[in-house]
C-alpha cells in the first residue's frame, strides 16, 4: 500500500484526482465519510466495494454531479466541472440513460461534437466495438450493447482520465472480456482509468491499484495482488485437548488474527492451506477442524480491526 503510493509519487507529483477529507451525507446516512485519496497519471485504479459502500457517490463527487458536504475534490488541480469543460475527463455512468429515437452513430457524433479534443466518429465506434450496430436506434439495443455505447460516449475524445461506474453491468462473460480488452487499450495509451466494481476478479485482472471502499471509508489501498491476498482470508477453527501452548500457535504462518478461548482456537489466515499444514507440523491434534471462507467485506473488516488492534498496542 505504501509502496504503491511511493512509486506513483515518484513518477509524478501532480495527482490527477485529489480527495481531501471529503464527506457526503444523505439524511442520516454517511455515504462518503472523510475520504482522502489521490490518483496519479497512468494508473488503472479499481474502486472496489459491496453495494452501498459509497462507490457511486464517490464517482459523482469526482465528476461534480454532487457537491461534497465537507472537504475538497480536485481534478487536475481544478474543480470537476472545469476539468470536464477542458475535455480532460470522459465518464460513463452506471445508470446513464441515453437519448432515444436516435441512431448509435448520431449519438456518438454528438459526443464527439461535445468534446474539445474529439476523435473521428468511425474510430470511436470501432474502438468500442459497435460499428456493426451503428445504424441501430439507441432504444433498440440490448443491455450489453447499450453499455458499449455508453463506453463510446466516455471515450469520444482524447481525455486524460476515464471514469467508469460498474461498466460491465448487464454483460455476459464474453462481452465482459471483450470490454476489458478495450479498456486496457485506453490504459495502454497512458490514460488514468478509474472504475467502480464489486467484482474482485475484475479489479484483479485489470487494475494496478485497488481502493477498497466500505461504508464510505477507504478500507484498503494497494496492488491487486495485495488486496487479493487480504481478501483471500479464511477462517480456521478447531479444538485442542489439554493445556494449550499458545506461543507456537501464535507463530503459525499467514495469521491475520488468532483468538484462543478455552479449548477453542479461532484463526483468520491469508493462506489457510499453509497455516493448516504448519498446524499439523506442530505435532498437535486439532479436533472439529473447520476452514471457511470470509466474504470480501468481512475479510477487510477483520483485517482492518486486526491492524487497528496492532497499532493501539
Amino acid at each position: 500500500m505504501v509502496g504503491m503510493t511511493m512509486t506513483a509519487a515518484t513518477t509524478s507529483t501532480t495527482p490527477v484526482v485529489g480527495f481531501d477529507q471529503v464527506s457526503k451525507t444523505y439524511g442520516s446516512v454517511r455515504a462518503v465519510d472523510g475520504l482522502s485519496l489521490q490518483l496519479y497519471p497512468g494508473e488503472t485504479v479499481a474502486l472496489l466495494g459491496p453495494n452501498g459502500a459509497g462507490k457511486s457517490t464517490t464517482l459523482d463527487l469526482l465528476l461534480g454531479l454532487k457537491q461534497a458536504d465537507g472537504g475538497t475534490v480536485n481534478v487536475f488541480g481544478t474543480s470537476p466541472r472545469e476539468a470536464i469543460v477542458a475535455g480532460r475527463v470522459g465518464a460513463m455512468l452506471q445508470s446513464g440513460g441515453l437519448m432515444d429515437e436516435v441512431t448509435v452513430t448520431e449519438l456518438v457524433r454528438l459526443a464527439c461534437d461535445l468534446h474539445p479534443k474529439p476523435y473521428k466518429v468511425a474510430d470511436v465506434l470501432a474502438r468500442a466495438g459497435i460499428s456493426q450496430i451503428a445504424d441501430r436506434k439507441v432504444n433498440k439495443l440490448s443491455g450489453g450493447q447499450a453499455q458499449r455505447v455508453r463506453f463510446a460516449l466516455a471515450t469520444a475524445g482524447d481525455s486524460d482520465l476515464i471514469v467508469l461506474d460498474e461498466p460491465t453491468t448487464g454483460m455476459d462473460v464474453s462481452a465482459r472480456q471483450a470490454f476489458w480488452a478495450t479498456m486496457r487499450d485506453q490504459a495502454d495509451q497512458g490514460r488514468t482509468v478509474l472504475f467502480a466494481t464489486h467484482y474482485l476478479e475484475e479489479a484483479d485482472a485489470i487494475a494496478d491499484r485497488v481502493l477498497v471502499l466500505h461504508r464510505g471509508r477507504l478500507l484498503a489501498d494497494g496492488t491487486a495482488a495485495e488486496i487479493k491476498a487480504k481478501a483471500g482470508a479464511r477462517r480456521i477453527s478447531f479444538d485442542l485437548e489439554g493445556a494449550i501452548d499458545e506461543a507456537p500457535l501464535r507463530g503459525l504462518p499467514f495469521l491475520a488474527t488468532i483468538d484462543i478461548s478455552g479449548q477453542t482456537v479461532r484463526i483468520q489466515s491469508t493462506d489457510a492451506d499453509a497455516t493448516v499444514h504448519a498446524l499439523y507440523g506442530l505435532g498437535v491434534y486439532p479436533r472439529n477442524l473447520e476452514v471457511a471462507g470470509l466474504g470480501l467485506e468481512q475479510a477487510f473488516v477483520a483485517i482492518t480491526e486486526a491492524e487497528e488492534a496492532k497499532q493501539s498496542c
Binding site: 470536464i84 475535455g87 470522459g90 465518464a91 455512468l93 446513464g96 440513460g97 437519448m99 457524433r109 468534446h115
Partner: protein, 252 residues
Amino acid sequence: MLNTFATRALIKLELARALRNRKFLFFSVIYPSALFLLIAGNADSKTKIDGTGLTLPTYMMVSMASFGALTAVLMGNSERIAKERESGWVRQLRLTTLPGRGYVLAKTASAAVVSLPSIIIVFVVAAAVKDVRLDAWQWLALTGAIWAGSLVFAALGVAIGYLASGDAVRPITMITYFGLSMLGGLWMPTTTFPQWLQDIAKWLPTHAYAALGRSIEQSQTPAAQDIAILAVFFVLFAGGAAWLYRKDTLKA
C-alpha cells in the same frame, strides 16, 4: 465559442429526432390545421365574430396557429425533459462541455423549429381553403408574433418538465394544455362563455397570446394589458423553470 458549438450540435440532433417522430409531428403540425378546417369548415366568410369585426375563419386562423405553436413547444419540452431527467440522460450530458442551460435551450429551439411550420400550415390552409386575405405585413407580423409568443409556453414546458416526473408528467401536461387552450379561447371565442368564465379567461396567457394575433389582423396596436400579461407569465414560467432546474441539478 465551443459552448455555442456544443449547444448547436445538440439542437441539430434534437431537431432530427423531432422531425422523425410522426406522432409529435402530427399533433403539432397537422392537427391544428385539421381542427381549423373542422371548426371553420362550414362557416361562410361573411359572418363576423361579436366585437372583433373578424370573420370566423380569420378569427379561428389565429386561434389555431397559436394552438399549434403551443402544442409544439409545450409537449416538446415537458414530457421529454421529465423523461430524460429520469433516465439519466440529463446527468450524462452534464459530463460534457454542454453548458447547463444548453440542454433547455436545445429543447426549446428544436420545438420552435417545429412550431414554425405548424403556424404557417394553418395560414396556408386558411388562405387557400377559406379565402382569408390579409396584407403582406400582417402575414409576416402574425407569424413573428405567434412564433415569439410561443416562448412563454416553452418556458412553461421546461418548468413542468423539471417539476413533474414519471407518470405524473403526462396528466399535468394534458390538463395544463387543454385548460389553457379551451379557457384561453383557442378553440372557441371566449365571447361564447358565461360572463364569470370570460372574467377568468381574459387573464390567461393563451387569451392574451391569441388577442395579440387578432389585433394584428384588425390592424390595431396590441392592447397593453395583453402584452403585460404575456410578459408577466413569461417571467413567472422562466423564473420557475430556472429555479426548478437549479434544484434538480443540486439533487442529481
